[in-house]
């Protein structure tokens, strides 16, 4: 399945919903979109991965790149993921220690359900 990207605003957060496959072919589009968002002044970003079917090292590299880009701006960067196959990838690479990962968008944007209530992740 091709990569799909859509952006919406939830409170003060910009939520980028990603769908399909993020791999060596499609990851550059994700990188471009994230850079666009950050350069446009969106510094509280949540990437919603719940519709992602496949994520490889290139996709992970893009997500780490965005986190690093947001740091100097004092931004926040969180991921939404509840799919075990993807969570395993984050665990194996130890990137679960690098990214704040939330089960829902609501939890990632400071809501309560299933998340650490109100805790905005700091990049």
């Amino acid at each position: 399945m091709e990569l799909s990207l859509s952006t919406r605003t939830v409170g003060e957060y910009t939520v980028l919903e990603v769908g399909g496959e993020v791999d060596v072919y499609t990851a550059p589009r994700l990188r471009e979109r994230l850079i666009e968002l950050i350069d446009a002044g969106n510094h509280k970003i949540v990437v919603d991965l719940h519709r992602v079917d496949f994520l490889d090292s290139t996709g992970l590299g893009v997500l780490v790149g965005a986190l690093k880009r947001l740091r100097p701006a004092g931004g926040t960067f969180g991921l939404v993921c509840d799919k075990e196959s993807l969570l395993k990838i984050f665990r194996i690479t130890a990137l679960d220690q690098v990214f704040p990962i939330f089960p829902t968008v609501q939890a990632a944007t400071g809501g309560e359900p299933d998340g650490s209530a109100g805790a905005a992740p700091t990049a």
Partner: protein, 144 residues
């Protein structure tokens, strides 16, 4: 003797094709359903690595993927890059992953290798028997 052999020009767009074929052959070979996600990811990582090496060295040679289902499901992904480049794989410790000075390429290679090593119990990276290049060999059990 390979059951299925696939060669593709070193372009990112073909890696998905290799993944799809690799999983289709794995399913047919009798690899357990719960391992197929890992097979898909590992074949993708090995092919991504090969494509990156060919592009890094400006090689137009095809990347080869050989899938065999005798006794086990064995996948060999063969690149034609200089051996010292191909064998220079290393996993990155977690605290280095978000290191500012790490290039995107180094990060992706490190993460890719961590995924291969984490998902494939029987993994070997070795020089090819003939000519220049390295072979990533991955083996999974079949449930027959």
């Amino acid at each position: 003797m390979a059951t299925v052999r696939l060669s593709f020009s070193p372009a990112p767009v073909h890696v998905r094709t290799a993944r799809l074929v690799g999983v289709a052959v794995a399913r047919r070979a009798g690899v357990a359903e719960e391992l197929l996600d890992e097979v898909r990811l590992a074949i993708g990582e090995a092919c991504t690595r090969a494509v990156a090496l060919h592009r890094q060295y400006g090689l137009a040679d095809l990347v080869q993927v050989e899938m065999s289902d005798e006794e086990t499901y064995t996948v060999r992904v063969i690149d034609r890059a200089p051996i010292e480049a191909g064998l220079g794989l290393s996993a990155l410790p977690p605290d280095e992953l978000a290191d500012e000075s790490l290039t995107d390429e180094a990060l992706t290679v490190g993460v890719g290798f961590a995924l291969l090593a984490g998902f494939v119990e029987d993994l070997q990276v070795r020089p090819v028997d003939e000519g220049v290049g390295t072979e990533v060999r991955m083996v999974w059990p079949v449930g027959r």
